[in-house]
Symmetry: C2
Subunit: 381 residues, 2 copies
Amino acid sequence: MTTPLPPDSVGLVAPRTALLQEPLTLASGRTLDNYELVYETYGTLNAEGSNAVLICHALSGDHHAAGYHSESDRKPGWWNHYIGPGKAIDTNRFYVVSLNNLGGCSGSTGPRSIEPETGKPWGARFPTLRVRDWVHSQARLADYLGITQWAAVVGGSLGGMQAMRWALEYPDRVRHCAVIASAMKLSAQNIAFNETARQAIMSDPNYCAGDYLAHDTYPKSGLAVARMIGHITYLSDHVMGEKFGRELRSGSFEQGLDDLVEFQVESYLRYQGDTFSDKFDANTYILMTRALDYFDLAREYDDDPAVAFRRAQCSFYVASFNTDWRFPMERSREIVDALIAADKSVSYTEIDSPYGHDAFLLPNQHYEQTFRQFMARIPTE
Amino acid sequence: MTTPLPPDSVGLVAPRTALLQEPLTLASGRTLDNYELVYETYGTLNAEGSNAVLICHALSGDHHAAGYHSESDRKPGWWNHYIGPGKAIDTNRFYVVSLNNLGGCSGSTGPRSIEPETGKPWGARFPTLRVRDWVHSQARLADYLGITQWAAVVGGSLGGMQAMRWALEYPDRVRHCAVIASAMKLSAQNIAFNETARQAIMSDPNYCAGDYLAHDTYPKSGLAVARMIGHITYLSDHVMGEKFGRELRSGSFEQGLDDLVEFQVESYLRYQGDTFSDKFDANTYILMTRALDYFDLAREYDDDPAVAFRRAQCSFYVASFNTDWRFPMERSREIVDALIAADKSVSYTEIDSPYGHDAFLLPNQHYEQTFRQFMARIPTE
């Protein structure tokens, strides 16, 4: 006997795959002749096609943003708090599309896929991607689904970068844009953490220059260290202190001769690294962190974000969290300043949360309320 | 022809080695029958033996705190800005002792030394050390040098922890104590970064469970990643932004087909990791980070630092830096609050510096002035 799925969830969902056969020329100059994107949808597209919302995922996200994959599934999609009937992204009103990005490792074409020319997994030979490449491939998916204009494009962190890029690349295809815990470009410190994570992966001898699948091996320990680095930066110092403090998992300071003292936070982090590295692809991790580093909203607009945003035709929701030190509030304020300078409509909210960057994924009343209000004002007819 | 050494430096110095033959029982319960400590001295011990200052080093420091090792040496000791004739620690007045800690890798007995029982390098079998073990071994070095009481014990970061522990373990042997950019215990986030660094080392296949010397190999890439993690946390976000921003070292965003874009900060960090891992010992790095994690000033004093500090008989100088996020100002304020609650004399200063935790090593007028004033008030007769 299984417990029924929560009534405010989208319930059972199943991923589908779109094969996109129009060649995609990437920012690097390379071309993918065709590619698959795995996606899920929640709610119903209305007759006018005017109620579609695109969810853009962050570094380690995927297409499974809401609902459950089976009756016995106890873990819903990664943004289930905010997507569902009556929730901020209300599936009674909206038709929600959530995909695994190109270059991902949850079913969409990426480094684990077979390279047509060689018949072998792409590995590190998979093209370097930029945020705009994701936006262009998402636009092909929208065409495939018959969506000419999004009611909203929504994302947190790296997802927020995609949402902003959508507003500039396809201004007439986006009516609203939600940019949560994001930034117009990374700081040197952000890049430094990403590069350290990449070095951890690439210096693992099992990385085999990215060809680990062909060698039937996997850089598990390198990816685990990379994830540990990332994980520390997602959490606030405060919440780590609250959650773990200096509690011991084993040993004691009145120790025996050879016992090592181990803190709870150490085994927690190792567990996070270990489970993540079991399921995620190392080349995808490298590719995604590079896309993060490379993103610079205003690079082609004279480095002036106000000039960039003048292209946008949508209205914006921007949110940031006070303990987020990976994408601090200053970065969101810069977005808001540029939007105001570009004479765009923007709702901005700074949210108190102890949870650092991770807060954008977690329940929070103030965040939920402001996000809900923004989405509720979107006409769908 | 060589340029003369700067006149405000202590000039040419040479390390010496003390063989300490009284067995040392460690906090873990294990005993070292004898051990060597490498040290340097600057200035002259006066007839009363009342002008001796002990310098305690931080994670990657060593005994070479000031002066030059040869006429052609262009790089002075790590605290040369603050130790020398007329400097904050004035070698015209003080006799300065600086050692490489037990467990280190710059000449003192440590994991690279030969374990008497096996005739092989200790490696990871070298005993786990706590800050108090360093203090006790430093006290044996003081005996060896004929120093019954320090005019001051001084240290930054992990060195500040040693200075505080000195004041509690040997209250009658310390007259003044300078605690710079330090903390009474690490936060969960600090421990998390240290554990990630340890995992980077230990998951390198060349680590060989710590026996790399016996296997004639070395976990160079793991130690390089560990150092990269550490290095990011020593610098402030701000100074990384000022120093590197998003400047490119190679490639361009109008890139060719297979070029990768590389930021300056990436190659800088890799260089730091690379050069550090050429010279430092991986087991020492693990041992030192564990000592940092384990340190908890008041653990044996009912977790009440005021109770702990009541044992001290010295006066204190405490300094912290506004952009230091590894040992933030709050940690120093906690030290000061506890000292005041314990009715001790304390001078506290918060210093504006863009350089993060590294600021304690760098020239800074306000820091220099307050530190100099504290040291100048120390009677040496």
